[in-house]
């Protein structure tokens, strides 16, 4: 398929891998920021192509993983209310709150819908005037413009039975938080390609400058990721720390100004709690005052929610690259993709879920790789 096959070419991949092997002289720890990148790495088995010196650490850029337990419980409480049609991106349905997931609520009579675009919620709202349609607006800078657009259109079209439960998060504060940790191991970042397609990379320049850490904005296809690793390793081996764009076909320095304007109009930056990481100041979006009528948190009184993460879970340390899933005593025992205790086991691209599905078969895989 055009524009995809070129980025999944086995020979090109091998050339890049050979070049990485040629230039690497010592171990490096790289973090791919996005869940989508983690997914590609696992799906295409990229990590078993890389030389042993390169350790890939899965970053916090999985929106499903980092949405706080308190917010998920709030979403579930709203979804349980009579007369509500609760709309969500698909992979949020399996994310457990303190008492089950959206599938469970659906099985108990909740009206839960999977949408691909938040604008579909407006259609649902118009078709169901007697119902209250709520969209769970999660994600990073990438999903913010379309989510903002749904609220803006709802206001323009005076759709009164539509609201959003906003739990947006922002990448730069999370990256800064990781670098500020006294135990940080990450030496270079594969930057978030789709986030930067919206926001550009100006916000990342001061991070590179301040922490002397290479950031290579990286795409999501296998060749994109291998190229990002090569560019990052090359910088590290040469003692450089620069911002480089490895995803030029999608990302420009200034980003997408039309999308940014829509986001600035509808959202405001606020403090946000991250699952596994806690509250990070100025790390998310909430609705601007002008759009308060569409704020599901104001419309639905669900009382006080006090959510407590299981004490044994170490997903916070794993999201920061400080610990590995196998360090966790609950891994593969009390905690599995079927019954996740924490953020990183929740989504298929979470580090623990990736290890569970892939790492337990590591021995067989290396045997296969050795056989060619």
């Amino acid at each position: 398929m055009k524009y995809l096959d070129e980025y999944r070419d086995r020979r090109v991949a091998q050339k890049i891998v050979d070049e990485i092997k040629r230039i690497v002289t010592r171990p490096w720890v790289l973090m791919e920021v996005c869940g989508g990148q983690t997914h590609s790495i696992v799906k295409y088995g990229l990590d078993c192509l890389l030389p042993e010196q390169i350790e890939l650490v899965h970053g916090p850029g999985c929106p499903v993983c980092v949405t706080s337990l308190e917010m998920i419980d709030r979403a579930h409480a709203i979804a349980r209310m009579p007369g509500v049609i609760f709309c969500s991106f698909g992979d949020m349905l399996r994310v457990p709150g303190s008492n089950g997931d959206l599938f469970k609520i659906k099985s108990e009579g909740g009206n839960i819908r999977v949408v691909y675009s938040p604008l579909d919620c407006l259609k649902i709202a118009r078709a169901n005037p007697g119902k209250k349609v709520v969209f769970f607006a999660i994600g990073f800078e990438t999903t913010a413009p379309a989510n903002a657009m749904s609220v803006w259109q709802a206001k323009e079209q005076a759709i009164q039975n539509f609201s959003v439960l906003v739990s947006h998060v922002l990448v730069p504060p999370a990256v800064t938080g990781i670098l500020d940790s006294p135990n940080n191991r990450v030496q270079g970042f594969l930057g978030p390609g789709h986030v930067c397609a919206i926001s550009g990379w100006t916000e990342y320049e001061p991070i590179v400058e301040r922490y002397k850490v290479p950031i290579v904005i990286t795409g999501f296809e296998p060749i994109d990721i291998l190229q990002g690793v090569l560019m990052c390793v090359r910088q590290l081996e040469q003692g450089r720390a620069e911002l480089e764009n490895g995803y030029a076909r999608a990302v420009q320095r200034e980003g997408n100004s039309t999308a940014q304007k829509m986001v600035d109009r509808v959202f405001r930056v606020c403090d946000r709690a991250w699952r596994g990481l806690g509250v990070i100041p100025q790390s998310g979006y909430g609705l601007a005052a002008e759009f308060a009528d569409f704020d599901a948190e104001r419309i639905f009184d669900v009382g006080r929610i006090h959510a407590v993460e299981p004490a044994v879970c170490m997903s916070g340390a794993i999201l920061q690259g400080l610990r590995k899933p196998l360090d966790c005593p609950a891994f593969g025992k009390e905690c599995s993709p079927e019954n996740p205790l924490g953020a990183t086991m929740v989504s298929a691209e979470g580090a623990c879920a990736a290890y569970f599905n892939y790492g337990r078969h590591l021995v067989s895989i290396s045997a296969l790789a050795a056989n060619g």
């Binding site: 696992v42 295409y44 599938f103």
Partner: protein, 342 residues
């Protein structure tokens, strides 16, 4: 295969129990199997094969609840005929007789029902089966989604044919009869109200004539039609039932360009998307070439190709060589495949 916690710890059935993934397997393992326990059921094939006098009969049943009732390339009626015909054929049986039971929601348009029944009649003729008994129930509006159809079928297994999910041996070639994921994406494209360039058509089709050609050409150990849960689910189930490993080459698996595009847009993996007119065969290595050639001479198998082989290593596990040269495990999905946000 890792199974989730016992079903008895859950209060309600969730959609995942019907997905064909781990939750479905758990429902069968924890609830149906202990209650009905017998040697036929324990094989976990898509049909039971038993002796009746001098004849060996295959018996199977399947229910159809697809939404919408009409989709590009077919409708629920022909799906219901072909589905049971194919479940029988996967034991090597020649399908003979079907039953059809209709659960109809009050308000269904007679015209729609008529079109569906006519296409069932056509599908039955094409598959060489007769629909010889049936039942009709009408339920209150809201108690069903327009129309559910259950078909059961009986077929005759030829002498000397021993095909079962537990018969695969290391060294066997894995052959798929054509492109995958057509049916699932055809239904999905209508359900998601997306219009893809050049409509994707369901591949719904009867497969017995293809199976008959294969049986005459060589030694077949197992057959599956990878419906719900797709090719990956069938491979995982067979790996488990036969206690073999599989090594699959993803670049050998045929996915049509438009289907691939639709999967990319919706964030779905074609390996886990349903087919209704394809089969995966596990064939003795000596017979591989002859069976492949026989398949390619038939209309339903013209695109057949070898996608991998069974091995003695990593028993119960399916390893996929990715198109980029990496390796990953194909595992039974927990529940329904969900579109990802990122």
């Amino acid at each position: 295969m890792t199974c989730p916690v016992s079903i008895m710890q859950r209060k309600n059935i969730v959609m995942g129990h019907g997905s064909g993934g781990k939750l479905s397997a758990q429902l069968v393992r924890d609830l149906f199997l202990p209650a009905f326990d017998n040697g036929y059921l324990r094989k976990l094939d898509d049909q039971a094969v038993f002796q009746a006098g001098s004849a060996r009969l295959a018996f199977s049943t399947d229910s159809f609840v697809v939404t919408p009732l009409f989709f590009p390339g077919g409708n629920i009626g022909e799906l219901a005929v072909n589905g049971t015909v194919n479940d029988l054929a996967m034991s090597g049986a020649r399908p003979l007789f079907l039953s059809a039971a209709f659960i109809i929601e009050e308000g269904l348009e007679i015209d729609d029902l008529s079109r569906i029944v006519e296409s069932m009649a056509r599908a039955a003729r094409a598959a060489g089966v007769s629909i010889v008994t049936g039942d009709t129930k009408v339920v209150d509006k809201g108690s069903a989604d327009k129309l559910f159809i259950t078909t059961s079928g009986v077929g005759l297994v030829p002498d000397g044919v021993a095909i079962s999910a537990s018969n695969v041996r290391p060294g066997d070639a894995v052959i798929v009869s054509g492109s995958i994921a057509d049916h699932g994406m055809a239904v999905m494209s209508v359900r998601e109200s997306m219009e893809f360039e050049g409509a994707i058509l369901s591949d719904t089709a009867p497969l017995y004539s293809l199976v008959e050609a294969m049986l005459g050409a060589g030694e077949i150990h197992a057959l599956r039609d990878p419906t719900r849960g797709g090719l990956a689910t069938s491979l995982c189930e067979i790996a488990s039932s036969s206690s073999v490993g599989f090594e699959i080459d993803s670049s050998a698996v045929l996915v049509r360009e438009d289907v691939k595009g639709a999967c990319e847009i919706l964030g779905l993996d074609p390996l886990f998307v349903a087919n209704e007119g394809k089969l995966v065969a596990f064939v003795a290595p000596d017979s591989c070439t002859a069976v492949l050639q026989a398949m390619r001479r038939t209309p339903r198998g013209s695109d057949a190709c070898v996608i991998g082989r069974a091995v003695n290593d990593h028993r119960g596990m399916v390893l996929l060589k990715t198109e980029i040269g990496g390796t990953r495990v194909l595992d039974l999905p927990f529940s329904e495949q969900l579109p990802r946000i990122c």
